[in-house]
């Protein structure tokens, strides 16, 4: 019975995909509106059943379905793992996923590809569930690549536009670069531990010495996979481009779920990571650099979705900083709250874009507060949450990561706080420019301006509620809370925690001080943004504006795309041409043809010797005898 419940969780979205995919031409939109979100709702209900009875389900956490690949000692079963960590992810994926599916019914209503859209979305949820539930690395990898495929299909959903297709292809290829790292990491795990199942690998890893080179190699390779999937430096440039997809896709895949897969994978492998302090340092630095870097780009963007995309990269950076500092719970906590408030912000942005007739440039918005009240209020909640203002969810999760970071290194803490200040600034810049002052769009846009239907605003309100109170799941001791999430996840991280030496906890007074510093900075930033974008009017520069120095670098996104084009794409195409035209055609093929020609030439030449003249043959024979005798004398 329990096995069936577990198996059915991913089966419903798969069924939804098959029904909608096979019947995408004939199924009426009404039915799709029920099937699409309905399958996710069923999965969510099953997840709730598992959650509320989780002691029964986690007694024997591994649920075997069937043997998948087996060759000699290599045995990879199709098996699912149900433990607190995967339950948390399941709740986020099916819960937020369901809300976004409902929203999509309204958002995609007019689109001719309505059925196709929901088929892909269901397939995505199915893949994501495999990723989360897999009891070994290969099953996780199925989901890992599966979500990459769905991301590809959904970014390029409007496939008549080749720009969008380029973005989709870029996302898939950059993910594949990471996937190669994941694959090699998996192989190294197998050659080291003789298994790829989580339970066996982690059980053996416990007895390994800290800092053993092979574990460092494994963790680094897996981290390469995480860098690709979770859009960290240097493989982050696909995520801003991925905004080409429909906005619900950005909310579900490129904010709430898929991009957090790297964080989940590292939290899942926490034992391996605490054994590799060198890798932890790499993760911390990468995450911190990404957090700052992406936040600084976001300040100068004008496309509402691009700002949110860079914000996502930056927030993912925070999660990695947390992982690097050993704050696995903190990272998972931030992952959860981020899923709430970032999904909310994207859906809110979608509502704005919907109302503006496809406009995404915040310079052409303004004054939407009165026109779209529900969108405005929910967006405001999301903005406050991400900015880290108490008592909304973002404050608690970010604070937990910052606190751990402070125990780890004061310098890293200071840099991370700078990132948090930037976050507050660019988010409120977005809010002020879009919703405050006067409308700056065309008259036609103004005429059509309307609040979204309730099928879209209800999800916004649900997510706003979650973004507001989501922090309650892990209120720290400082605020007289019970840290529920920490104790819930404790069994998963227990072995890792036993290995790593916990840093000396800071006193409560220090904690209060840290919070005060961060909070004061954030409020200052919000006021600064208010002053600049509401009081004054110098935040709006048209596209062609000449900029200099740092501003030019930032608004040009550090020209990383151009750099990659120059360093990788161009040389690769050049190499391809060189290999084909020079090496292949001029060299190898000529060599082969030459060998053939030599044979033909030899045949043609020797042909003349066969004259049929007996006298000539006699002459050659005697010449030969003389030569032989001559050589005999010489020797």
């Amino acid at each position: 019975m329990m096995d069936y419940i577990v198996f059915l969780i991913p089966v419903f979205p798969l069924l939804g995909f098959l029904i909608l995919g096979l019947g995408y031409r004939s199924i009426p939109k009404k039915l799709t509106s029920i099937v699409g979100p309905g399958t996710i709702l069923l999965s969510f209900i099953l997840t709730l059943i598992v959650f509320f009875n989780f002691h029964q389900f986690t007694n024997s956490p591994t649920h075997h379905l069937f043997p998948w690949i087996s060759v000699g000692p290599l045995n990879i079963p199709f098996a699912f793992l149900i433990d607190p960590l995967s339950i948390l992810m399941l709740l986020v994926v099916t819960g937020v996923g369901f809300v976004i599916h409902v929203y999509s019914v309204g958002y995609m209503k007019e689109d001719p590809g309505f059925n196709r859209f929901f088929a892909y979305m269901n397939l995505f949820v199915f893949s994501m569930l495999l990723l989360v539930m897999g009891a070994n690395y290969p099953i996780m990898f199925i989901g890992w690549e599966g979500v990459g495929l769905c991301s590809y299909l959904l970014i390029g959903f409007w496939f008549k536009n080749q720009e969008y297709n380029n973005a989709a292809k870029k996302a898939f290829i950059m993910n594949r670069i990471g996937d190669l790292g994941f694959l090699l990491g998996m192989f190294l795990i197998f050659t080291t531990f003789g298994s790829m199942s989580f339970d066996q690998v982690f059980a053996q890893a416990k007895s390994m010495p800290v800092g053993s080179p092979v574990v460092v190699a494994i963790t680094l390779l897996l981290f390469v996979g995480a860098v690709g999937k979770s859009a960290q430096i240097p493989l982050y440039t696909w995520l801003p481009d991925a905004m080409a997809g429909p906005t619900p896709v950005s909310a579900l895949i490129h904010a709430a779920t898929m991009v957090t897969a790297g964080v989940y994978m590292i939290a899942r492998s926490n034992i391996l990571y605490v054994l590799a302090p060198a890798t932890m340092t790499v993760i911390g630095i990468t995450g911190l650099a990404t957090a700052i870097f992406a936040a600084s780009i976001a300040i100068f963007q004008n496309d509402i979705k691009k700002i949110l995309a860079y914000s996502t990269i930056s927030q993912l950076g925070y999660m990695f900083v947390g992982l690097g500092a050993g704050a696995f719970t903190g990272a998972m906590f931030h992952l959860t709250t981020h899923a709430f408030f970032k999904a909310l912000l994207f859906l809110g942005a979608g509502s704005v874009i919907h109302a503006m007739g496809g406009e995404q440039d915040i310079r052409n918005m303004g004054g939407l507060r009165s026109k779209l009240p529900k969108t405005y209020w929910t967006f405001l909640v999301g903005t406050i949450a991400i900015a880290g203002i108490p008592p909304l969810s973002g404050f608690f999760s970010k604070d937990e990561i910052l606190l751990h970071l402070y125990e780890h290194s004061v310098v890293m803490w200071a840099i991370a706080v700078m990132g948090a200040l930037m976050t507050a600034f660019y988010m409120f810049r977005l809010l002020y420019l879009a919703f405050f002052k006067n409308f700056r769009g065309t008259d036609e846009q103004l005429h059509h301006l309307h609040e979204s239907p309730s099928v879209m605003t209800t999800p916004l309100m649900i997510l706003a509620l979650l973004a507001a109170v989501g922090g309650l799941i892990n209120i720290p001791e400082l605020f007289a809370g019970g840290s529920w999430l920490s104790s819930f996840l404790a069994p998963v991280f227990a072995d890792g925690a036993a290995i790593s030496l916990p840093p000396v906890p800071v006193s409560h007074s220090t904690e209060w001080m840290l919070i005060a510093v961060t909070l004061a900075g954030c409020i200052a930033m919000i006021y600064f943004a208010f002053h600049r974008f509401v009081k004054q009017d110098n935040g709006l520069q048209p596209d062609g504006t000449q900029r200099s120095g740092v501003v030019r670098l930032l608004s040009g996104k550090y020209f990383i795309d151009e750099l990659y084009d120059l360093l990788i794409s161009k040389p690769l195409l050049w190499l391809s041409r060189f290999l084909h035209e020079i090496v292949e055609l001029r060299f190898i093929d000529r060599l082969v043809n030459g060998a053939g020609n030599i044979v033909v030439w030899t045949g043609n030449t020797l042909r003349y010797i066969q004259t049929g003249n007996v006298g000539f043959y006699m002459f050659i024979m005697i010449l030969g005898i003389i030569l032989i005798l001559f050589f005999n004398i010489l020797i």
Partner: protein
Amino acid sequence: MLTIILILLPLALSLITLTLKSEKAVRQYVLSGSVIEFGVAVAAFIQYKTSCHCNLLFTADWLSTLGVSLKFGMDGISLLMVMLTTFLVPVIILSSFSHSYSKPAVFYSLILLMEMALVGVFTAFDGLMFYIFWELTLIPAYFICAVWGGNDRIRITFKFFIYTFVGSLFMLVALICLYFKTPLPHSFDYHWLYSAVLTPAEQAWIFAAFFLAFAIKIPIFPFHTWQPDTYTTSPAPGSMLLAGIMLKMGIYGMIRWMVPVCHNAMQLYAPFIITLAVIGIVYASVIAIRQSDMKRLVAYSSIAHVGLIAAGVFVLNPYAMQGAVIQMVSHGINIVGLFIAIDMIEKRTGSRVISELGGIATKAPRLAVVFMIMMLGSIALPLTNGFIGEFLLLLGIFEYSKVFAAIAGLTIIFSAVYMLWMYQRTMLGKTNGITEEMTDITWTETVAFIPLVIMIFWIGLSPRLFLDVALPDVMTVLDYVRL
């Protein structure tokens, strides 16, 4: 008994086809005939699975004084290859019905003759028989390409014929040398050939001769230059037979002959050969990125994919060897699917040039879906057949050398680069003058894809049936290395 039926049935069908006049009769006849042949293969498969290792042996004396006998049988590896052959031939025949080839009786007769020769190669348990059928495949292949091919077909087919023929002559020399080293009385029976006692030098020479024959056939870099031209010029069914089945003869030959006979030389020269194969993977992938002709792009991608299989054979461990066997089957299915899709595009638009196409998905959504599935199999997405093979191959290579595995693993990135590029430029985007009139594939044409799609997901989801059939014999072959 079933083994000999599998060889004789296509031969008989092929001869009878020649007597038929109307195109319709020929089509119905060859299609039903090849389906029956597949049915026989399935029966053989069931018999093999149920009555453990009867080997389906057939023996008859032929030149007994020379130790040559008509000995045919199947082990697990042969069986999979025979299944692949008999499975793909009806699909290839069915897909060819959208064209109207001149002299249909001869054309389809040659395809069936080819099937007979291929089954002969995969079932021969006698060295000389193996060689005879090996050469026999070349004759129908030559005529199919030279008579029904495209531009410049005579020169290209001639090169293909001579190049591969020279290679196989080396194999003949190797087999004869081996024959004289067998214990008395000399015999071409493959067990006798396996037991030949060789000095290291002799082994090296025989290794080199075999390698040349097989490397040209597969083809392994740098012996591949006949391949892109030949695949591109051949009529679609010809390309499918060559790429889907015929090249597997080379890999099969390596497993069947080189590993047991030259096991010391295999280990000695493996680093060198794997280096070649791995260079080939990267080299062909990089070239594929810029190809303008869809068929030629797939041809180069095939060099990369089979390079990985060849590398897997030479690392000589169970994972990679199993991966090689399963990937031979998967590669055959995927490349035939890709060639069918390309053929359908070419038939409707008159073009295979990537830059001239675009927007086909709008006009032909069904074709877009099946093309996508073939592509996903080809880029080894998990839960498709390609993943099982490449996963095992790369795992096996990783055990042998981490560096080789890392470089060979680049194929998963490159294959995404060139395949997605081709898909994007032909299927996605807006329609243009050439693709404006494109129509979707008909239901009969869709039927040719359905078995391929089923197999892609069957192998991807549950490869055990196929892995288990091959495993005992893969271990037997590898035992020759360990001893």
